[in-house]
Amino acid sequence: MRLFEHGEIGPQTRRLTASTPLDQVEAAASDGAPIMIEFEAFRDGRGFSLATILRERGFSGSLIATGDLLPDQARHLMRSGFDAVQLRPGDDPAAWRRMLEAFSVVYQPAFDAAVPAWTSRGKSLRRPSNAPPIDEGTTLGRRAAELNAALRDADPLTVLRTVLDPRQGLRVAALSSFGAEAAVLLDLLARAGPSTPVIFLETGQHFLQTLSYRTTLSKRLGLTDVRIVVPDAEERADLDPREDLWRTDPDACCDLRKVRPLARAAAGFDALITGRKRYQSGTRARLRVIEALDGKLRINPLANWSADRIATYRAERDLPGHPLADQGYASIGCWPCTRPIEDGEDSRAGRWSGVDKVECGIHLGRRRAAA
């Protein structure tokens, strides 16, 4: 849209006020001569409709706006079909230009060439051609199998984008301990959907370093929905009044502080994203990208990635590490149950070392955890 101060108006330009009835405006525009519409008050928006209608009915001549207008109306004018604005003495062309460029998104079609969001979405959200069709009739297991077939070799970002695509109809949350390896998954998640809820199980036994890492990492990555989930206060007072259940019965402690809170926090979701990888330990060696567990999908976008690939990605993206990782902790959970590992041990060997426990229960099905 052209901005000019005055003059430049050819003698054949027809000058009408914005209060002119539509049929008279149409009559004046019938031979294609330039039309100038004068706004008598910036609050009076009739001129926007007049311009839109003229353009819709095929008027291709020049359409100039003038009168009492604000820079904040520049885009409204342009989108309604005006191709020029005659500024008044004292108007600030810089403000007009700024306001013309204030938005990169439009929500509705108009006369200008801007593509409404609903059209752009059709393009950017096209489902990957190998994704399974959406079929609400399938059972969860079949749904998982289909998704897994389509995504088993996909890169993590594709996995995330696919499951977060609303057309999959899934309510998705991620699960993160903000431990030594959390940054990679969370960075990928921030790229695919920064507003995806991230569940953090606040067991009350975390290292302080983990809590501050949670804050800095979420901020740095722009995650907008990190949810801190705590054990039920009554249950805790009941089962672990002295806060030392981990000494005598770590399974019960994990059940109280992780398994049950997660079950409550995850109630509204159909799918949970985790950061588990196949290389982490023997029990995870057969991990699949998509699994069904306890009535929900588990999405493991990093299942296929090797320790090397993870490290490269972290370096490429310059992701901040967990403060304890440098001190030899490879898998970080609650302080009572985590120790540094020795070279050559598998990366989860530092967890619950000395007891016959390898998973805290949140990644096992309900029945196995109880057994």
Binding site: L22, F42, R43, D44, G45, R46, F48, S49, L50, T52, I53, E56, R57, L70, D72, Q73, R75, H76, M78, R79, S80, D92, A95, R98, M99, A102, F103, S104, V105, V106, Y107, Q108, P109, A110, A117, W118, T119, S120, R121, G122, S124, L125, P166, R167, Q168, G169, R171, G193, S195, P197, T224, D225, R227, R264, A265, A267, G268, D270, G295
Partner: protein, 555 residues
Amino acid sequence: MYRYDEFDAALVRERVEEFRDQVARRASGALTEDQFKPLRLMNGVYLQLHAYMLRVAVPYGTMDSRQMRRLAHIARTYDKGYGHFTTRTNIQYNWPALTDLPAILEDLASVEMHAIQTSGNCIRNVTTDVFAGAADDEIEDPRPWCEILRQWSTIHPEFSFLPRKFKVAVIGGPNDRAAIRTHDVGLEIVGRDGNDTLFRVFVGGGQGRLPHIGKEIATDVRGTELLAYLTAILRAYNLLGRRDNIHKARIKILVESLGIEAFRAEVDRQFETLRDEDLRLPQAEVERIRAYFAPPAFETLDGSSGAFDRAVLADPDFARWNRNNVRRHRQPGYASAVISLKGLGEVPGDITDTQMEVVADLAERYSFDEVRAAYEQNLVLPHVKLDDLPSVWRALLAAGLATPNADLATDVIACPGLDYCSLANARSIPVAQALSKRLADLDYQERVGPVRINMSGCINACGHHHVGHIGVLGVDRKGEEYYQITVGGSPDEQAALGQIVGRSLPSEAVAPAIQRALDRYLEIREDGERFIDTVRRVGHEPFGEAIYEGLDAAV
């Protein structure tokens, strides 16, 4: 629930930047107050009696716990620890500093909220049935359409400088719980044709000065053509609506003066020349938005609950709350719970930051992370398992949120009135509080049953007094606050405006007068009649007599 994608997020961010630019130009004097005012209003910023007020949109009343927590955070950080839910399912903050506004808007943007078009002469926040997606009488969930309308109307190039504000409400079935006939445009889903949704359209409703009940303009507009049809209505209004008199500028006056037939012909004429192929929503986009509102993962339950039954038997207070505040759900074994913001003697619609946190926790834990704002200035947990209702109730009780009065006489709608509002004639809050105290006896309230009592501090009718079964309107009589009472208004599918029963009363006379009207109803009702049924049968006169018993009724 709808989640922002990159486009929505960018737009809201850019809007904050635009507003920052406007505030800077106002500060430098490049914008006069007169020029700045409509711009700040379109970002929800009002100037009230004592301070600025920020009105935040809760689009179609739907929130998740994260958003509710952010609203609590804003109340705590930038306000005096509370917010006020309005009849348009917005939330208002009464005490923010002007300089904090951009920070608040950024906070809102981070949880996918905004204050865009909550005021100003543009298309406002779209409202709907608070039980959408949960009610068992619904043909289709109206919220995907509300979201489609939200997006389409946001920063609309043609319709941002209308003659006056423009309010749209949508419902998903025949029972009107969103007062669509008091809106500029009311949309009722009436059925389906293949994949396409069919809408019945009302136009020209509105409250305020010169209230009108909307008239039917179309019986079966297709969903794919809805935006085109609304464009035609708005275009006719934008060109023909009055701009010479602010009190005659709403579409209701245009429809009234042309007559509905002539207005329909005008809309049809605009519709025919519209390039509606551009305005046709791609079916894929409709499906994409619908997918966000798919029902949550309900468990398959048989509809009975031992825990619930035991609690009803064991605890009469729970039983009472359940009788009055719990609504049927379409899914066996689930219910919707109304959280009354009308505690005894409290300000209708007000809620503290700690209470908001409690509601957020309950929504997250027991209601698939959803909470709704109702236009009656209450909140609703839409999807609670019967098994969980006793726990929900105990938590609400502890937070002072378990008042068992939903839809009863003390569930009063009231605008901020002279305590905050610069347009007010009279206070509404103290009158509502006095009524709440007078009618506090819950047995009495239950005997009376459902009755809608609404109060506004001036004729603008923010408190919906015209459509209260009993309406109370603040008027100024020679500098004194007086209250005019109406009877027989109704916001539902049998919408009607209340009739003035006599001269206005001083504030202390209002609550006793209303109680006399309710007592009269108890005397003359027939079996099974609700208050409004009795009024419809016998007219408003018997109630007028009761209201003025012992008083001089001459106007």
